[in-house]
Point group: C2
Chain length 136, copies 2
DNA sequence: TAATTAGTTCAACAATCATTGATCTATTAG
DNA sequence: CTAATAGATCAATGATTGTTGAACTAATTA
């Protein structure tokens, strides 16, 4: 899938919707502390299930579970050792991360946030009143 | 909180852990399709509850719920209309987004992924065998 | 062949969370 | 004072999902 954000209004409802859903799926996967720690370890070059489990003090089956989820959204790849095929190595998918960081940077770029142009309300002047609403 | 990733090994266990947890919390919030759609609308300048609800075909209380969650992680800010205080306007927190995009870009930068240096396994040659593991 | 090893898969449980409908608050209009 | 408006809060529900322990596969070793 080509992951770019449309700048024209035309394809906004169809194309962008798919991009947003794909982005949401990946961010949801990354929005889990243990998975984010796994990604951090993979960045450092750690790669087999046991190493990850040792570093994070997690059971192998749980590591396996999170790696599967990371794989399902294309962020992680798998290799088997050519000498001893019992060992399986995991690594980050560089192409996927390149695409993701580009999309993320574009989507959340503060510079691209447009000014308010309300289509409802009295359209009166607005006064900043942060923290008026109580948040527990 | 200062959100930068340590490059030295020293503070990796303490400082980075907090950064990763904060990052995970924000990504988790953004990893929800409807919230991501709300963010997209806020990027376009749409801001009041009713506008968001109309655009997304969601009930006001649900919009309210998601906006609260976006606020709790600092991504969204609130203003009240100075003329008619019944109207509440939501907007993206530019500073928070700037910090987030910088951290995200650094954390997931493909160029910073280190090569494998396994501390376990037979350390034999590795052959690429993608999709060996069945994923349903 | 039998025993280890590395890792996955499965079933069950508990916690989290998005959604819904109803109620409540605050503000403005009549 | 009495609606009406904009929106938040509350309680309940159903689905999703992280975690756990046990069983299972596949590969290697003795």
């Amino acid at each position: 899938m080509q992951l770019t954000l449309s700048t024209n209004k035309l394809s906004e409802t169809t194309e962008d919707a798919a991009v947003i859903e794909q982005l949401a799926r990946q961010l949801k996967v990354l929005g889990e502390p243990n998975r984010l720690r796994i990604v951090q370890l993979l960045r450092e070059g750690v790669q087999c299930n046991c190493e990850l489990g040792d570093a994070l003090e997690m059971a192998p089956n749980l590591i396996s579970h999170h790696l599967r989820i990371l794989r399902e959204v294309g962020l992680v790849e798998v290799e088997r050792d050519a000498v001893d095929a019992r060992w399986i190595y995991y690594s980050l998918n560089r192409a996927a991360l390149k695409e993701l960081t580009a999309l993320f940077g574009a989507f959340f770029d503060p510079a691209r946030i447009k000014e308010r142009h309300p289509s409802c309300g009295p359209q009166g002047s607005v006064v900043r009143t942060d923290e008026i609403l109580v948040v527990t």
